[in-house]
Subunit: 224 residues, 2 copies
DNA sequence: TAGTGTGAATTTCTTCACAGCG
DNA sequence: CGCTGTGAAGAAATTCACACTA
């Protein structure tokens, strides 16, 4: 059998942009557009055209010189690369405010990531129904993942519980984790971990507000 | 007056890590630790020690050779850099599942970003109370920001409404926006925009699951 | 002597610019 | 002719390695 992907490794920065192109292409497809140039796609994705071309070139040569890219075909290729064939289930651990919102958030299922289980440690929550699903106890986590389906674990617990949950997820065989708890979580090699830290984003914005304000003051100083 | 910040510009990547150091240092302070080495801080923050030292060096020379950094003093410096002095208010626009969760999320207020207003376009929601706050109508947005306090706008609307909301926020004088809507939003120069795209994170994880699975198959092939 | 601060080396990412193809 | 695909240049971020000093 010929090697399936002898293509050079796709850079991380590119991987992070593929879903954005995917979304833009889906919109184009839905509005009946069949062909798109790197320039147009760049506009939709909020990046520049050179980057689009370079990014897409890692997937292969799917464009047509002088014309552009065929929307549907390109979409198919990105789908394949992102593993849209296999619907990855999502298990949400921790059903406080954020966890509950995530459980009810349709954006996951809409984009191919159905929520397949809800888990909490609080006996008061276990057994209750959320988004048409029974909340299960964290101690049953092994059996929840026992079916062997590829699954992503979402940690939406308080910070103090996050590492423990991560350890249990890993022990249960989970290889992809998305951490919403505002703390650093470490996982063994081979397990993929990404984090979303809401307050951190605000702090970053705060830095720039602060800096701009300071600059304005300094500029005023040198005026005088 | 002497220039306050003639220091070289702080790289973006460093800015994004300062809040993480901040959190780790806060924990250290709370457990009574007074001094920390770059190595220890690196462990807590989940990065390597060289990076910590380089990052901190952009703030100034606040360490002591042979000893490390004084926790409290370093914390103070990062606080100052992140603009913790001025409590930045947060206005949440869009009170669907996610917006409501964000409104109830204590993590913002706890970290110095009190939610100061809730806004929606749906007349059914306007006037109702959430997290002890009356929901206001998007048309009143100008008056909400009229007091001139520095404020961050959070967009938690459906994708289709996001750009319009961003435009109105900018028109009302908002200079920092955090966008949760799964779509590209553009803002004029001088306005800071960050995005959090939940499903996008899952798609990135999906890519790596997919790739690992493919690699495993290929490895098995070359075995045979 | 332990650990910072930082030039220099390396790697990664972005952008340029243009040859080459449809 | 128009737009892709990509080497090469440039910029940003990371890591190395060690002089220096409290």
């Amino acid at each position: 059998m010929a090697p399936v992907s002898p293509r050079r490794r796709i850079p991380e920065a590119t991987v992070a942009r593929l879903p954005v192109y995917h979304r833009s292409l889906t919109e184009l497809k839905e509005s009946g557009v069949t062909t798109v140039s790197s320039e147009q796609l760049a506009d939709l994705a909020g990046v520049n055209a050179a980057k689009v071309r370079k990014d897409l070139s890692y997937l292969g040569s799917y464009g047509t010189r002088g014309v552009g890219y065929e929307v549907e075909y390109l979409l198919f290729q990105i789908d394949r690369e992102l593993g849209f064939a296999n619907d990855l289930g999502v298990v949400i651990v921790g059903l406080g405010n954020l966890g509950q919102a995530l459980a009810n958030y349709d954006g996951f299922g809409d984009r191919g990531f159905p929520v397949t289980a809800l888990v909490d440690a609080d006996p008061a929550k276990v057994g209750s129904t959320l988004h048409g699903m029974q909340v299960q106890h964290i101690d049953d986590i092994e059996s929840i993942f026992a079916d062997g389906d590829l699954t992503i674990g979402i940690i939406a617990t308080p910070a103090a519980a996050a590492q423990g949950v991560a350890d249990r997820l890993v022990a249960a065989g989970v290889r992809s984790i998305l951490n919403f708890a505002p703390t650093v979580v470490t996982v063994p090699d081979g397990v993929h971990l990404r984090k979303v830290d809401l307050a951190l984003e605000l702090q970053i914005l705060g830095f720039y507000e602060q800096r701009d304000a300071t600059e304005a003051v300094n500029a005023a100083d040198s005026d005088s």
